[in-house]
């Protein structure tokens, strides 16, 4: 009777059978070969060979099965995470400051398996400071990223999830660079009502898979949206559209300068908000992207991250309220 499931042994047995079979066939074809074998003294004693084999077996089995166990623990679907998700209730950390001046932190491009760790870190830091944050989520396949789902489940009361397109793919780009004029077209920039409805239906369905989600805000990819798409937004519960320009919810400051292609220091971001408030406006939307805080290998850019922490600290020191779009009066 074999021990239970001897998979590696099975593999070794197959090798022995193949080698043994070939050797036997060779000796049948060339029987003289056996008599020509010179009995040499063994290079290592049987005992040493045996110990090496036992150590090898132990290492092979140990590595194989411990890697399974390690994988089971490391996997986001592990029972502990599932159970904690089930029992976790979101505790609001939002500290309300009564002020006429309001800031919205808008983190765009939150997506499945793209800068996930950085996105979560940025949102977590805001929540730790008692600030709510708006996550512009790319809905396509968002439910497949267990880390993000777990985070949204735990923090849904501190975060507003906004639709950020459906796939965020650049329309008209088919991978053919010939004739490319270098300008990109937003996913919702040129579409009509029919396509807008289809994409919004898909987006809302995908976001409905996230826990405790109420959709009220749309952030167009590339900050560009067609009039047709804008017209159908209310059908999908969208009350706030935040793009670029002079609209009431459009962004006022960004951590990235798209003209120069450089990171914008937090001091400059704050100055832009100050200018907004000085002009009499009471709302400053700050646009952030996880990419702004990432190195090329998707690891955290520590220098930019320090700037972000400084930004949060500076906002905290000022007489402003940090809010979400849904906290604003409905237009």
């Amino acid at each position: 009777m074999n021990p239970p499931f001897t998979g590696i042994t099975l593999f070794i047995s197959l090798i022995i059978i193949v080698v043994g079979f070939v050797k036997r066939q060779f000796l049948i074809l060339y029987p003289i070969a056996e008599s020509l074998v010179i009995k040499k003294k063994r290079i290592v004693s049987q005992g040493i060979a045996s110990i090496c084999i036992v150590l090898f077996s132990f290492a092979a089995c140990g590595l194989l099965y411990s890697s399974f166990i390690h994988g089971a623990f490391a996997d986001e679907q592990n029972n502990y995470t599932k159970a904690s998700e089930y029992f976790t209730t979101c505790e609001s950390t939002i500290k309300r400051t009564i002020s006429d001046k309001k800031i919205i932190l808008r983190l765009d491009d939150v997506q499945a398996y793209g800068w996930t760790d950085i996105s979560i870190k940025l949102m977590e830091d805001a929540v730790k400071q008692g600030f709510p944050i708006v996550a512009g989520v790319i809905p396509n396949n968002i439910q497949t990223d267990p880390k993000l789902n777990h985070f949204f489940k735990a923090q849904h009361c501190n975060i507003e999830i906004a639709i950020h397109g459906f796939t965020h793919e650049v329309a008209g780009d088919f991978g053919d660079t010939e004739g490319d004029n270098g300008e990109t077209t937003g996913e919702f920039e040129l579409i009509g009502e029919h396509v807008a409805r289809r994409k919004l239906e898909q987006a809302v369905s995908a976001l409905a898979l996230l826990p405790e989600t109420t959709i009220a805000t749309f952030i167009p990819p590339q900050n560009k949206i067609s009039q047709s798409a804008l017209a159908v937004m209310p059908e999908y519960g969208v009350s706030y559209v935040s793009s670029e320009g002079a609209g009431p919810y459009d962004y006022d400051a960004s951590t990235w300068n798209y003209v120069t292609g450089e990171f914008v220091k937090s001091k400059d971001v704050i100055e832009k908000c100050d200018a907004v408030f000085a002009s009499g406006d009471t709302l400053c939307v700050i646009m952030l992207h996880p990419q702004d805080f990432s190195l090329a290998d998707q690891n955290l850019n520590q220098a930019h991250y320090r700037e972000y922490l400084w930004l949060l600290g500076e906002i905290k020191r000022r007489d402003v309220s940090v809010v979400r779009f849904i906290d604003l009066p409905r237009p």
Partner: protein, 348 residues
């Protein structure tokens, strides 16, 4: 290569309360194409009709009756071996039916190579229900792959208790002794042969048909005995792992992996149930591939039909393997309780 003495072959059958099958067993021994030179049945204190049935064969067989049961198959075997006069004997069980060419194949193997000290034949399980079907799949895989590979490197891990043959001199000259200190005497003999660098051959043309447990309780008891005996023998003969690289390879791989798999099987659902379900699917596929292979090999559709249940039986095996490891090796509570399985009448 011819042996110096003419080869004489005996069949030795220890039997305790085997009224259901002893007749069929003896009939198969008498129907050999190469007749056995002697057939000895040790009626081990049977309280049923075993003795009565054996008496009907008259002087065609020799019956040795013990007044009370010895309580262990190996003790009955020892009594029979002491009475043997043939230079080779086939060791089988009272519930086993030998294929008509079994003795002939034993003779061929021993005549082909005089250095052979012991012989392992092929075991097949008689058809009954899902448990015997799953055991048959295990036999097919175990013998077609593992045992064949073991024979290539002269490291046959076990000579089956119902399908083995030995040179009688091994016992008469005390090269192999009965210690009665493990639950699986066939394992014990095989280890002892390897310790003395004696040659064991595996001949898959020598077939016997045996009864395997057909109820879950008897299956559990048998697995406890087999795995318990396996751990007992490993501990008893651990030196062989240091002496023989081939033994080191097969034993360490088998037991390390058996432990690794068993631990994983029960730890995984606790840690990550989603991953466990995925692995269960993979395991099911492996079981069904094994079932398909066994089904084609034995031309029995039931082997494939029942193969998905191997997952359940695999879980039971894994549990018992771990349990016996803890009892025998960790807690060092040696269990020597013999188990006599239920029999049913089967005619192959």
């Amino acid at each position: 290569m011819q042996t110096t003495k003419p080869l004489t072959i005996a069949i030795l059958i220890p039997a305790h309360n085997e009224e259901q099958m002893i007749g069929a067993c003896v009939d198969s021994c008498l129907a050999q194409t190469r007749p056995a030179d002697e057939i000895i049945v040790v009626n081990d204190g049977s309280t049923d009709r075993t003795g009565e049935i054996l008496a009907t064969y008259g002087d065609r067989i020799r019956v040795i009756t013990t007044p009370v049961a010895t309580g262990n198959k190996s003790r009955a075997q020892e009594i029979g071996i002491n009475a043997l006069s043939s230079n080779v004997f086939v060791a089988t069980d009272g519930d086993t039916i030998l294929d008509s060419n079994f003795v002939l194949e034993v003779e061929k193997s021993f005549l082909k190579n005089s250095e052979i000290s012991a012989f392992a034949g092929q075991v097949q399980s008689t058809t009954y229900n899902y448990l015997t079907a799953i055991r048959e799949i295990d036999y097919v895989i175990g013998q077609d792959l593992y045992k064949k590979a073991q024979s290539y490197i002269n490291q046959v891990m076990v000579i089956p208790g119902c399908s083995g043959a030995f040179k009688t001199s091994l016992f008469h000259e005390n090269k192999i002794t009965f210690d009665h200190d493990t639950l699986t005497e066939d394992f014990d003999f095989t280890y002892k042969l390897h310790e003395q660098d004696l040659l064991i051959c595996y001949n898959q043309n020598a077939i016997c048909y045996t009864q395997d447990p057909h109820t879950l309780s008897s299956y559990l008891n048998q697995m406890r005995r087999w795995y318990g005996g396996g751990w007992q023998n490993l501990e008893k003969h651990i030196n062989i792992v240091r002496k023989r690289p081939s033994a080191a390879l097969l034993i360490s791989m088998g037991y390390f992996e058996g432990l690794g798999f068993s631990i994983l099987f029960f730890l995984l659902p606790i840690v990550n149930f989603a991953l466990f379900l995925n692995m269960l699917w993979l395991y099911l596929i492996i079981c069904m591939i094994s079932g398909a292979y066994a089904s084609a090999r034995r031309r029995r559709a039931d082997l494939f039909v029942y193969s998905p249940l191997m997952v359940l039986i695999g879980a039971i095996n894994a549990w018992i393997f771990l349990e016996r490891f803890v009892v025998e090796i960790v807690l060092r509570k040696k269990n020597m309780t013999w188990f006599h399985p239920e029999r049913r009448l089967v005619l192959k």
